[in-house]
Symmetry: C2
Subunit: 237 residues, 2 copies
């Protein structure tokens, strides 16, 4: 295994991250990039060979991804790429809202002016991105998720952040597969909601913040519901 691939920090930094983490990163990226298809089997030996390593770390990586909900593992049967349906999507978003609401409550009490500014910058980036004509979806998705993750970080609530991060891969799948960030009618409204959340944070207005978040989430859910219905029964992500 190429050591150079993981240790690109400065010399003083000891390689805290283990090989399993690195492999998990690679596999996560591959799944999100659709290089592994939903429900596809992931054979430990194959992956190990393709990455020039052994089965052990690959096994560990698959367990990490299992915890993130990107992979389903069955004892003695192996690991498969998770296939999300409409119900999963609803679960992911309701849970996400519950976590982010709690994060907001905490963030409103704790956030520093500087932290709130960094959120504002992200909203600015969103606006910039939305000006490009063919909007870069992946970029837009990344900024959107970065905003929400920053919220969770600002909360200082470690368990909420950790739970949100466990969910983020699944969120990413859903958002990417359904182009959830930039359908035309949603895009501008979405930016407004984000702006209002920042506003509420600055005003330390808990109710307002949570309301805006709720509207934001509800709109996304409604959008997907509509999409799924248009397509008829085909409700697999």
């Amino acid at each position: 295994m190429l050591k150079s691939a993981e240790g690109n920090e400065l010399l003083t930094a000891p390689s805290q991250r283990t090989l399993s983490d690195y492999i998990a990163d690679q596999l996560r990226q591959a799944i999100l990039a659709d290089q592994f298809k939903p429900n596809q089997r992931m054979v430990e030996q194959e992956i190990a060979e393709s990455m020039q390593t052994s089965r052990g770390p690959v096994r560990d990586a698959l367990k990490i991804l299992e915890n993130e909900g990107l992979v389903v593992r069955q004892p003695h049967r192996g690991a498969f790429v998770a296939e999300l349906n409409l119900e999963d999507f609803i679960e992911i978003y309701t849970l996400r809202e519950a976590l982010e609401s709690l994060a907001l409550r905490y963030a409103i009490k704790r956030a520093s002016a500087k932290q709130i500014e960094s959120l504002e910058e992200l909203v600015h980036t969103m606006i910039e991105i939305s000006k490009h004509d063919p909007i870069d979806q992946v970029e837009a998705t990344d900024v959107d998720l970065k905003f929400h993750q920053t919220l969770c970080e600002m909360s200082g609530h470690r368990r909420v952040l950790s739970a949100w991060e466990s969910l983020s891969g699944q969120i990413r799948i859903v958002v990417l597969r359904h182009r959830l960030v930039h359908p035309d009618d949603l895009r501008e409204r979405s930016i407004t909601w984000h702006e209002r959340i920042v506003e509420a944070l600055r005003e330390r207005n808990t109710e307002k913040a949570i309301d805006e978040l709720h509207v934001h989430m509800a709109a996304s859910m409604e959008w997907v519901n509509k999409l799924v219905k248009e397509r008829g029964g085909e409700n697999a992500f």
Copy 2:
């Protein structure tokens, strides 16, 4: 490793659970029973020998417990029993409330009459237990947690259940270490809250259910806060 220890199901049932799961169970139990002290180091080789197995499954088990927040692992440094402080306790309970609120919303929509009855039976058991003079704390804790876990199961929201179960070990630690279920003034009130939650479920009254849950959780948090303050700075669990 003794196979008999894990395969006590009927013959037809294939041993779905793996050795790692079994070891995780044993270690979890040992931690909750205080046989491993907070912050104590857990050496893979030692555990492997004491359980007559090899390091691999023990490693896996430690990772499982890490995900449950019972163990902290640092790369190349090993695994230690998690030590929870007051802030952790607050985090655990606020997150728990967020999860159970969501679970309640779902349960109110989906719960069958039969499921609600099983909750009622648990409340009955609580009442029975509270009649014994030296109250069996572990038993009381188990029934209490069983009630809340059943709620999460009834929700049919798989991710909420899974998140709650990840948290349950930590909840157990907190509740057991602080005798959180049966301080005299809390006990009867606690039973009442549980009864009211069941009532609200039966009436399909979401607001009421969530309010009762909130009061229940807030009271527990207040109780621990009081305890910790009485003891002065000693805020480690």
